[in-house]
Every structure is written in structure tokens, then in C-alpha cells.
């Protein structure tokens, strides 16, 4: 069983967590162009690398940030939003 560390509840089995994708800045829908908006809605960075992702510990509903190498599937760091970047 793979273990992930929740910043609040400590190490837990990865099956207690769900993944919500890479953190991406949203353009202002009132000022951006249609192409910029479509790019935000659909396009993703599908290439491997170290990415910052949203994850949630579902049993405690804790949302936090995971830095993960998506090719090796190795978690490098987990922390709450707003904590040390």
C-alpha cells in the first residue's frame, strides 16, 4: 500500500486520498480572450515532471498541495495551501 502524508493527519494509505489535478492559475473570465479561456478549460501539461497538485484527504476533507514526480510516482512534499512555498 502506498502511503501519503496528510499535512493534518500524518501518513495514511493513498486510497484515503483523491487527486484533483495540477494547480493552474485561472485567467480572469471577464478580460481574457476566448482562446485563453479554452486553453484554461481544456489544455493540460501532460508531460512528466515535478508538479504541484491539489489532493484531498477524503475522510477528513483536508485539501492540500502535493509536490510529486509524476514519472517516478514519488511524493516529494505535502503542505497546506498558504504554507511555505
Amino acid at each position: 500500500m502506498k502511503i501519503m502524508t496528510c499535512p493534518v493527519n500524518g501518513p495514511r494509505p493513498v486510497s484515503e486520498f483523491f487527486y484533483w489535478g495540477e494547480i493552474r492559475p485561472m485567467p480572469d473570465p471577464d478580460t481574457c480572450s476566448d482562446d485563453e479561456w479554452a486553453d484554461y478549460v481544456f489544455n493540460r501539461n501532460g508531460a512528466p515532471g515535478v508538479k504541484k497538485e491539489w489532493w484531498c484527504h477524503s475522510t477528513s476533507n483536508t485539501w492540500f498541495i502535493v509536490e510529486r514526480d509524476t514519472e517516478k510516482d514519488m511524493v516529494l512534499r505535502t503542505y497546506l495551501y498558504g504554507e511555505a512555498a
Binding site: 512528466p48 497538485e53 517516478k72
Partner: protein, 413 residues
């Protein structure tokens, strides 16, 4: 019927030649370079030579032929999709499949088994009726059947699925089939090779030379090749290649895992799929049960497999077939599925002139191998998208005009 086996058996020598010729050197230029020596890439090389007379073609494969998703899928072939674009496209593919063994003179073990998509809820029954009507409208053999029909086709099934997910009915697709997947790559590869295309294994693409918005060449691990046309058919590696040419895309990669059991006497003729239980299962010609489930729940760009998968799939499988409790799992593996937001592929031309894409094949690419080769060969040769693939263009994600195939593409979404 292929007579090659009989000839081989009666011969005093063993006259089996190599499947492909060896090319120690890359040429300095080709008319078309195909990245990816899986079924799709080799089929495109085959149809480029056979239908369009373009034979100065190199197929570049980083590993070995058919070692990617072509050899990692669960080899199911069907056309009972949901959208008109999908149904017409996959139907053409099924027709091509039926003649392939004869055409290659190579036994693909194409076995017509019949395909059931089980419904355990009212909403699933509604989707099955919807799919059946779309399918019938386009002349596909597809109908909704009751639990008794399922029981007759698969007598060992527990119709109550352990009591918590009773089978209410199923979508039955009589043309559903399985085939020997690696043989497909070998058949297309040999056919392309015989017609003059070159297959280069152990040749990795490191970069693509784009000047003024046009493809000029490809940098490989064995040197530079000049070319004006590149076809990208690399499944789970698609985002890495698109990064080289600077084309943004909605493709994201999740592993899809599968496993097989030890061989058993034949007891399961049809192919069974359950979206609610996240299971699909068929019995191969060797007697092994070939089983798969839904995608892994998060992005990973590698082919690692997990124990969680085996545990989850086994538990759901035992709901359907309790008598399998003593059967052993022999091996498991994973492929990288290049997923799209609407569960339809991305095919055709791209913003870079001379760069053609055959990607976004997620969990549904094997069955489309012949028709992808044929339509992409047409697209590359004439620089015009084939009429069967216009619904799959990359532009649809700029125009908000998606081809929603989620209800029919795979299980558990």
C-alpha cells in the same frame, strides 16, 4: 484460411523468414517519418504504401515493435459506441479487422465472441438503450437484452453479483471480438516492410525541427533525418512529443492496468464488461482470463503496476464469478493511457504544417488500429483530413465542440 502453417509443418527445412528487413543506417531524408512502431504507426506505414504509393517512409520506434500499448491492451474489438462520429469510425474498423488475417497471411486469432456491457442500475439501462438505438441507426448489430440472455451466454455468472449489484440487463453486441494483439503489429509491420517502408527499432526521437511553422526534420538518437511530414502515433508519450513542437493539448496520462489468470479449460465464450463493478473479462485462446478495470486514479507517466489494482479487480470479479476464488493471477502490467476530456481521440492536422497527430487514444485505441492507419495514411498523403476523422480534430477544444464518448469508451468513469 491461412495455409502457411501447413506448409511450414510439411517442410523438411524451417523456411520461416525474418518478419522485417534490417536497416543498419537511417537515410538522410524520408518523405514521411512515423514516430511510434505500434499498431497505429505501422498500419499507417502499410496503408501509405498500399493505397497511396508512398514507400520512402521510416517508422521510428524507441523500444521494440508492439511493445507499448499495442501489446498491453486487453485486445477487445467492438463498434457499439455512443456518438455518430464514433460509431461510423469504429464500424469501419471492425470491417477492416475481419479481413486482416487473410490480407496479411498471418493468423491474428481473430475470434468473434459477442460482447456484453452489463447494466446494474436503471441509469445504466437508460445508457444501454440510448447506445443500442444510435448503433442500430447506423446499421450496427446491437441490442438490449435481459438477465436470462446473459445467463445463457455465461452460465457461471452470479446474476445478483453478490447481492449488491444485480444485473438488470445488458447491451449485447454480437460482432464483439478479440484478436492476438502483437500479431497485428507484426502483420502491419511485415506488410509495410515488404512494400518498402523502413522500420527502425531502438531509435528514439529527441527533437523535431520546426522552422517557420513547418516541419523540416527529426533529431533521433541515431542522427538527423530531413523530412517535411511527421506522423505522431505514440499513445502515452504524446504529450512529450507535442512539447517538442510546442502544440498545447488537453491530453493527460493515467496508467491503465490489466492482469491474466492461470490457464483454465474454456468456460467463458463472450466478452463481459461491467461499468459499475469496473471489470472487463474475456478468456483467451490459451485459456487465460484476460481482465482489466478502470484507470488509475491519478496521473503517472510510467508503466508501474500496483497491488491495489489486483485486490480491487479480484474482489469485483468474485462478485460476478464466485467460483473463481481459487484461481491464481499469473501476471499484471500497465500501459500509459493518453486521455482526452471527451473520451474521443485527437486525429488529423495540427497548427504545425506537416505535423500530423494520431493520439488521445486513451483506453480505446487497439480496436481502432486498422481504421486509424487507413485514415491517417489518407490524411498524411493528401494533407486533407479523411472524412471519418473530421469529428476528432484538435480544433474542437478551441471551438468548444466536443465529441462526447464518455458513456461508451471504457469502464468506471
Amino acid at each position: 484460411m491461412p495455409w502457411r502453417l501447413l506448409r511450414f509443418g510439411l517442410s523438411k527445412k524451417h523456411p520461416e523468414p525474418r518478419m522485417f528487413s534490417d536497416h543498419p543506417q537511417l537515410k538522410s531524408s524520408y518523405d514521411v517519418v512515423i514516430i511510434g512502431g505500434g499498431g497505429h504507426g505501422l498500419a499507417a506505414a502499410y496503408y501509405l504504401a498500399r493505397d497511396h504509393g508512398i514507400t520512402n517512409v521510416a517508422v521510428l520506434e524507441k523500444g521494440y515493435i508492439g511493445g507499448g500499448n499495442t501489446g498491453r491492451n486487453t485486445s477487445i474489438i467492438r463498434s457499439n459506441y455512443l456518438t455518430p462520429e464514433g460509431v461510423k469510425f469504429y464500424d469501419e474498423s471492425v470491417h477492416l479487422w475481419q479481413d486482416l488475417s487473410e490480407e496479411f497471411d498471418l493468423n491474428l486469432f481473430y475470434a468473434n465472441r459477442g460482447h456484453f456491457t452489463l447494466a446494474h442500475t436503471d441509469s445504466a439501462m437508460r445508457t444501454m438503450r440510448w447506445r443500442a438505438e444510435v448503433n442500430k441507426h447506423y446499421g450496427i448489430d446491437s441490442e438490449v437484452v435481459g438477465p436470462d440472455f446473459v445467463k445463457r451466454a455465461a452460465p457461471m455468472i452470479d446474476l445478483s453479483c453478490g447481492g449488491h449489484a444485480p444485473i438488470l440487463g445488458a447491451l449485447f453486441h454480437a460482432p464483439g471480438s478479440v484478436a492476438r494483439h502483437d500479431a497485428v503489429a507484426w502483420g502491419y509491420g511485415r506488410g509495410a516492410d515488404m512494400r518498402g517502408a523502413e522500420i527502425h527499432q531502438q531509435t528514439e526521437v529527441l527533437g523535431i525541427d520546426v522552422q517557420g511553422g513547418k516541419v523540416r526534420g527529426v533529431q533521433t538518437s541515431r542522427g538527423y533525418i530531413a523530412t517535411n511530414k511527421v506522423l505522431c502515433a505514440v499513445a502515452g508519450f504524446t504529450p512529450r512529443i507535442l512539447k517538442m513542437v510546442g502544440i498545447p493539448s488537453p491530453i493527460y496520462i493515467h496508467p491503465l492496468q490489466a492482469m491474466v489468470s492461470e490457464p483454465l479449460k474454456p468456460w467463458l465464450d463472450p466478452i463481459l464488461v461491467s461499468g459499475s463493478l469496473h471489470v472487463y473479462i474475456s478468456q483467451s485462446a490459451r485459456g487465460e482470463l484476460v481482465m482489466g478495470a478502470s484507470l488509475d486514479p491519478y496521473e503517472v507517466q510510467s508503466t508501474r503496476s500496483t497491488l491495489d489494482f489486483v485486490e480491487g479487480l479480484s474482489s469485483h470479479l468474485l462478485d460476478m464469478f464466485p467460483f473463481l476464488s481459487n484461481v491464481k493471477v499469473m501476471r499484471q502490467w500497465a500501459g500509459m493511457a493518453d486521455m482526452t476530456p471527451d473520451f474521443a481521440p485527437i486525429m488529423g492536422k495540427t497548427p504545425v504544417e506537416g505535423f500530423y497527430l494520431d493520439g488521445g487514444w486513451g483506453t480505446w485505441g487497439f480496436k481502432a488500429t486498422p481504421v486509424c492507419g487507413k485514415t491517417m495514411a489518407h490524411t498524411v498523403a493528401t494533407d486533407t483530413p479523411h472524412s471519418l476523422i473530421t469529428g476528432f480534430s484538435l480544433d474542437r477544444f478551441r471551438n468548444f465542440s466536443l465529441t462526447g464518448e464518455k458513456g461508451a469508451a471504457s469502464v468506471g468513469h
